[in-house]
Symmetry: C2
Subunit: 191 residues, 2 copies
C-alpha cells in the first residue's frame, strides 16, 4: 500500500562531492548532494546551491568550479564542508584537506579526493532560494591509485561516499548487483 508523504525533496541515493570555487589563493568550498550529470554533449553537470552560500559568489564571479568526490574515509571532512561556512572558518585549514592546481581552469581540485571534474559555468536558473548551475566538464582527473590496468576508474578502490537524504546518513557502496546495459537483455531481443 502506497502512503502519501507530501512534496518531499528526497531521491535515493545522492552523491556528496565537495565543490570548490575561487582560486588557489582564495578558495571557497562546500559539499553538494544536489548534483548530477545531465548531458554528454558536451559533458555537463547541474547542481542546486542555496543562493546565500559563500562559495556560490565565487563560482559566479569566476565562472568556474571543481567537483571533488570524497572516499568514505573522508566522511567527517565532507560533512564539515557542508555545515560550516567559509565566512567564519577556513575549512581547508580546519580539516587538513589541500588543493592542487587544475589542468584547464584556475579553480583548484582537492588532493585527497580521488576523482575530480573541472567545470565552466554555462548557465544558471533560479528556483526559489536555490540557483541551479549548469557546468560543462572541461577535464576530469583520477588518482593513479583508483585506476585499473585499463585506465578506467575502479569503483571499489574509489570507495565513494554516498549521501542518503531524509535519513541524513552517509553510506558506502555495497555489492555489485548486475551489469548495466546487459542484464535487461534477459527480457528479449527488443532490448
Amino acid at each position: 500500500m502506497k502512503i502519501r508523504l507530501g512534496p518531499t525533496q528526497n531521491l535515493y541515493p545522492m552523491p556528496c562531492p565537495i565543490v570548490v570555487g575561487g582560486t588557489m589563493d582564495q578558495p571557497r568550498a562546500l559539499t553538494v548532494a544536489w548534483i548530477n550529470v545531465v548531458s554528454s554533449t558536451p559533458p555537463t553537470v547541474a547542481m542546486g546551491v542555496r543562493r546565500t552560500r559563500h562559495t556560490l559568489e565565487a563560482i559566479r564571479e569566476r565562472g568556474t568550479f571543481t567537483v571533488n568526490v570524497p572516499p568514505a574515509s573522508l566522511a567527517a571532512e565532507t560533512d564539515y564542508f557542508g555545515i560550516a561556512s567559509g565566512r567564519t572558518a577556513d575549512k581547508f585549514a580546519v580539516t587538513g584537506l589541500s588543493l592542487v592546481p587544475s589542468a584547464v581552469i584556475e579553480t583548484p581540485i582537492i588532493e585527497q579526493c580521488p576523482f575530480n571534474l573541472e567545470c565552466r559555468v554555462t548557465g544558471e536558473t533560479e528556483v526559489g532560494e536555490y540557483v541551479v548551475v549548469l557546468g560543462e566538464v572541461l577535464e576530469s582527473h583520477a588518482d593513479e591509485s583508483v585506476l585499473d590496468g585499463g585506465g578506467a576508474v575502479d569503483i571499489e578502490a574509489l570507495d565513494p561516499l554516498v549521501y542518503i537524504a531524509g535519513a541524513r546518513q552517509y553510506r558506502r557502496l555495497g555489492d555489485k548487483v548486475a551489469d548495466a546495459f546487459k542484464i535487461g537483455r534477459s527480457f528479449g531481443d527488443s532490448a
Copy 2:
C-alpha cells in the same frame, strides 16, 4: 598522482529511477541515471534526457512525469526500461511492472517501485542532444513496507538500486558510515 582523463560524464554514485510520462492508458517510461533534486523551494528535480527519447515527447506534451525508485531486486527490469524503446516494445507488458494512479497528476506511478515522486514540468533547457527538464515535486509516495514506525523512509527496507557510471554496474547500498550534519562537528564549534 592525478591522471588526466579528459572531459568525462561520470559522477559517483548515481540513482537510476524509472521515469514515467503520459497516462494510465498511454504510459511511456525510461530509466534515468542523470537526475537529482536541485531545490527545496519548492522541491524540484532536474534530469537530463536525450532529445530523441520517446518518453520525453509525452513528458513535454502533458507537462507531468513521475520518478519511481526501484529496489535492487528489480535490476533487470530497470535495465530493460533503459535499453529498450517504447516505440518498438511494451515495456510494462514485457517486464510485468504495473502502474497505479497518482494522487495529484494524471501520469501514474509504478506499483513495484517503493518510492515515487509526482512532478510537474516547470522549465527546460537544451544542452546539446539532451534536454534538462526541471520538475516541481507535487507529491511523494512510499510503500508502507519501507516506512519506519515514525513514518520516515527506512533506507535498508527501500534497498534502492544504485548506478555506477563508467563501470556500467548496478550496486546496492553498503554500510552506514556516519550521521550527516553531525560527524563534521568533530572539527569544532565553527561547524
